[in-house]
């Protein structure tokens, strides 16, 4: 997995709560057997019109947010299905981090496995960052994972929580399966203890 230490990027605000994984990557794109090729279908049904042209109403199609790599969204982002295709699509589109007041559990786990950082901040902070991203052309944020901090252009820092293990995995791009396999003896002992 690609490591995540620090990131500076443009910000796009998606002003919706409860964005579900069916919106992030609709089911018609889940039939691929590869891990790649999902970015162009991110938010497909919102992003494109019936005729396939970009929907000018959808924020990702606004030219001023064209190079965004940080997504700000409403509460409970990523609810619904367990499809890891959702973080794949976000990552392959170019997102490195998602800021929201809260995330659905499975989605958040899936993000960590793919080098995307889901950052939960208080609702009022999200609202104000989202407003600034709309008001200020070329608005950028800096994310410092080591310091667990989101830094605004004016220097204001917002700290966020992350589990030590998840942080370590992201900072070092750790292979979790390899990590677990170093305890192979414990697994075997567990299996011998029970009837499994």
């Amino acid at each position: 997995m690609e490591a995540f230490k620090e990131h500076v990027g443009f910000v796009v605000p998606l002003d919706r709560i409860n964005v579900d994984t069916d919106q992030i990557i609709p089911k018609q794109f889940l039939k691929r057997i590869e891990r790649t090729g999902f970015g162009e279908f991110l938010f497909n049904d919102w992003r494109y019109l019936e005729n396939g042209a970009p929907n000018p109403e959808f924020v990702l199609n606004d030219p001023r947010y064209a190079n965004a790599s940080i997504l700000i969204a409403g509460a409970n982002f990523g609810c619904g299905s367990s499809r890891e295709h959702a973080p794949w699509a976000l990552q392959q589109y170019g997102f490195k981090a998602i800021l929201a007041p809260s995330f659905a559990d499975i989605f958040r786990n899936n993000c960590y496995k793919n080098g995307i950082l889901p950052i939960a901040l208080p609702a009022e902070v999200i609202t104000s960052l989202s407003q600034e991203a709309q008001d200020i052309e070329g608005y950028q944020l800096m994310i410092d994972l080591e310091a667990q901090s989101v830094i605004c252009p004016d220097g204001t820092a917002h700290t966020f929580e992350i589990g030590d293990f998840e942080k370590d995995c992201l900072l070092n791009g750790l292979d979790e399966i390899g990590w677990t396999l170093q305890y192979e003896a414990d697994i075997a002992a567990f299996e011998n203890r029970g009837s499994v």
Binding site: I17, I33, R35, N76, E84, K113, T180, D186
Partner: protein
């Protein structure tokens, strides 16, 4: 109960590390697994316990005549890939031609694979279904599937515990589906985030095992990691004699162990909620997530009545997408399609309940309705009871088993603008087909809606 199962499955729990949890049963399907198997190959890893892994094909499979070729070549490739992966890694597979094929969350319990006190995972969020038998069961992503294939373990943080207690007697016409929709309406679609829910109380005890599956199935729609119900005599009776269930004296010994699982008297939960079964009415969703739900006697809400700006905006979006006007009585809403199926409501008791309503009646001319059994075994049982005839004579289509129009990955989809009464679990935008509008209901309500062409209060249905 969650804590007992959790403790019993800890392979390693050191204070400064993430706990390693042992997984007893890993269920696999065609859509979320190919990249996991590819990951194993790339890293030259094996499947640690193919004997604890079971695969089936459900999400993509067509529900028309199985003798016909599969016209969706990409879907066919995904199914072929699962077959190749199962052959390569020696995993038992119930493929599209198998008499055991079906929705993974229907066949697990049906075959006795799902057992109390076990940990069960699957790359599908509705894995919470299996908690109905007292298992700790939850959905995982593809990276975690690869992790379980390689190690038979998962790295997991412990969840909070959440007791949802429903006491009292369910009124006539009110079902397990209405219980869970009412709960989600109450706590919201993120009300269970970070928690494992245990459903308790006399109304839950009174449910059959299949009804309990409907409740646990939609735990994820409240954001919960898992949902579970303590095993009891109904559970043991259900499991007895199933193909993978323990036999004879092993079964008796297993039951003795299972009896130790229920939460101890006096134990406390991190969160609690109590509802009275008598207060629950048949539920119908009006919006674009399962929390946007009301009683069948209710009306489409007015965005200006919402408590927060976010909710007001979300309601406006939902009503625009659903093409509904605030204040419209739910029973005035007409539908074009009816879908009876999905891992929520496609078991034999669901089909019996819907058939009872459909019997001797006709699907309204303006409606096209279909019934998709959850598994080939459910289909055979229904046909043995003549339910297929009841449905066909009433004008419902009778299909082969699969996930079908719950998520519309196969050819069963809504057209843009079509409105559907569905017994499935998600009414997200585009879930059943781009531009399609989904209303979630119980099987009885779906059948009655098919007959009348609009939503009806099943309690007054003649």
């Amino acid at each position: 109960m969650y804590e007992k199962i959790w403790e019993a499955h800890l392979v390693r729990a050191s204070a400064d590390e993430v706990p390693i949890l042992y997984i007893d049963t890993h269920l696999v399907h065609e859509v979320t697994s190919p990249q996991a198997f590819e990951g194993l190959r790339l890293n030259n890893r094996k499947v640690r316990r193919p004997d604890l892994t079971f695969a089936t094909m459900d999400h993509n499979v067509p529900t028309m005549d199985r003798a016909l070729p599969i016209t969706d070549l990409i879907a066919a490739k995904q199914m072929e890939t699962l077959a190749e992966n199962c052959a390569e890694f020696d995993i038992p597979l119930y493929d599209i031609d198998s008499p055991e094929q079906g929705i993974v969350h229907v066949i697990g319990p049906e075959l006795g694979i799902t057992q109390p006190g076990t940990t069960i995972v699957c790359g599908d969020s509705h894995t919470s279904t299996h908690g109905a038998l007292g298992a700790l069961a939850f959905g995982i992503g593809t990276s975690e599937i690869e992790h379980v294939l390689a190690t038979q373990c998962l790295l997991q943080q412990k969840s909070e515990t959440f007791e949802i207690r429903i006491d009292g007697t369910l009124p006539y016409g009110v079902t397990a589906k209405d219980i869970i929709l009412a709960i989600i309406g109450h706590i919201g679609i993120d009300g269970g985030n970070g928690a494992v829910v245990e459903y308790t109380g006399s109304a839950i005890r009174a449910l059959s095992i299949e009804e309990r599956m409907t409740v646990c199935n939609m735990s994820i729609e409240a954001g919960a990691r898992a949902g579970m119900i303590a095993p009891d005599d109904s559970t043991y009776e259900y499991i007895a004699g199933k193909r993978f269930a323990p036999k004879d004296e092993n079964f008796d010994a297993a039951v003795e162990n299972w009896k130790q699982l229920p939460t101890d008297d006096g134990a406390t939960y991190d969160r609690t909620l109590q509802l009275n079964a008598a207060d629950i009415a048949p539920q119908v969703t009006w919006g674009t997530n399962p929390g946007m739900v009301t009683d069948v006697t209710g009306r489409v809400p007015d965005p200006s009545d919402m408590a927060t700006v976010d909710e007001k905006t979300a309601t406006e979006h939902a009503l625009e997408y659903m093409d509904l006007q605030p204040g419209t009585p739910i029973t005035d809403i007409p539908v074009d399609r009816v879908f009876i199926g999905s891992c929520t409501n496609s078991r034999i008791s669901d089909l019996r309940a819907a058939a009872e309503v459909a019997k001797g009646r006709k699907v309204a001319e303006s409606v096209s309705a279909m019934v998709v059994p959850g598994s080939q075994a459910v289909k055979r049982q229904a046909e043995a009871e003549g339910l297929d005839k009841v449905f066909r004579e009433a004008g419902f289509e009778w299909r082969e088993a699969g996930c079908s129009m719950c998520l519309g990955m196969n050819p069963d989809t809504l057209s843009p603008g079509q409105r559907c009464a569905s017994t499935s679990n998600r009414n997200f935008e585009g879930r059943q087909g781009k531009g399609g509008r989904t209303h979630l209901v119980s099987p009885q309500m779906a059948a009655a809606t098919a007959v009348t062409g609009h939503f009806v209060d099943i309690r007054k249905f003649q």
